[in-house]
Assembly symmetry: none
Homo-oligomer: 225 residues x 2
DNA sequence: TTCATAGTTCGGCAATAACCGAAGCATGCG
DNA sequence: CGCATGCTTCGGTTATTGCCGAACTATGAA
């Protein structure tokens, strides 16, 4: 009758508005304190505390103690991926939160997803990497090609070194606004970092929105032309 | 504070055990009736009805009406993908369920659906009829062609006579094990009857299972070759 | 028409759990 | 030390919602 793991328990955790708000706030990969998350969720601190305990028990969050603060962050990229997927389903049903807020277009254009680039720009970048034969594979199993290694090296990303880490080198992540894949994994993470380092883009404060400078956009386009 | 679509509403839908069981049962892409889903979920039909209405309203399910049955299926691959992702998170926490149960292979191969042939054999027969140009049309509106009339006459089925009756001459029926169409309607009914009359197949007692004799299978294959 | 099956709607009950106030620890600072 | 801050635990209230029995509608078969 029933097959596979019990998804209901996890989904129920994500299904509470307060918890969902907290997780959404953590989608950008930052670590936030319980007090900050309480504010995000719009509930009192003691309520938040209970929620966070449950999320941590389910291994959806990791916590880092630091003095009298406790910093919470998503436990991994896979959590962010599922959250993005759920947003995709929600967006499809027209269940937009309220109306598309003022930040919505910016969010659709470029945003942080965990620690890599999402939105229109993220999907475009993945498309170009693929078209240029810098990443390859089929379905969702993606890898960096030989030519890709050279390309990333030229961009200041040492793929060989990343490959030593435990983290999957290259993954894809489904984009809720574009309904297509963008690049994730260690390479995706480094790619976004380089965009910031080079001054091509910067993060909006307290938001997932990523702003490209005019020149940055131009250079990025040229890079992947 | 809040960015992006409201994932809580969708996640809450997936977070109920009964609904999660229904969705899990639909994960393989088949279409199931409300009664079957009620059984899967372990709740009564009226409870199921409410759940299905909500899932459909959220566009997580699509429904196909067929006679007095309503066949539900996942609305798309993206839904299945999110469910998979949630199972992944659940599995990570060690929330495994009971083992998968054994299926009934005979039922999948050939069975009675009302009064016509379903299962692997039923879908195969419809494919052949279609490929040979004996039935035609598009989408779900199917009719017997001129050549088809001659073919069925040769098999002992008088299409002209059947056309006099109130019952639709030729319909298609969605197959739950193959999740494709097989032939139904008056012609489908007569076809199955002829299979029994000719001794090519027989019904298992108190079951929907249909057993073909070796010779019957051979002759049927030759007929539609 | 009459009967059977598939599914929906309605109403009330019961269990869950989200919420907050208040009190209790723990850490850091002066 | 005393005090403030960050967070957790406890208890009781409240709102939600999942559930089923019963009655109702719709389709099909005889």
């Amino acid at each position: 009758m029933k097959e596979g793991p019990n998804l209901a328990a996890v989904a129920a955790l994500l299904g509470d508005p307060a918890r969902a708000n907290m997780l959404t706030a953590l989608m950008d990969g930052r670590a936030l304190t319980a007090t900050e998350l309480a504010h995000e969720a719009g509930v009192t601190l003691q309520t938040t505390s209970g929620h966070l305990a449950r999320l941590e028990a389910a291994h959806l969050l990791r916590v880092e103690k630091q003095g009298r603060h406790r910093y919470f962050r998503l436990s991994g990229e896979d959590v962010a991926e599922v959250l993005e997927g759920l947003m995709g389903l929600a967006a499809r049903t027209g269940h937009l939160r309220t109306k598309p807020g003022p930040k919505d277009p910016a969010l659709r254009q470029a945003r942080v997803c965990y620690d890599h680039l999402a939105g229109d720009m993220g999907v475009w970048a993945f498309d170009r990497l693929w078209a240029k034969g810098l990443v390859g594979g089929h379905d969702r199993h993606v890898h960096v090609t030989e030519r890709g290694r050279a390309f990333f090296a030229g961009f200041g990303i040492d793929v060989e070194a990343l490959a030593q880490g435990r983290r999957p080198l290259c993954r894809v992540c489904l984009d809720w606004s574009e309904r297509r894949y963008h690049i994730a994994g260690a390479v995706g993470s480094q790619l976004l970092r380089k965009l910031f380092d080079k001054g091509w883009a910067r993060r909006e404060k307290d938001s997932r929105v990523v702003h490209f400078t005019p020149k940055g956009r131009q250079d990025f386009a040229k890079l992947l032309a």
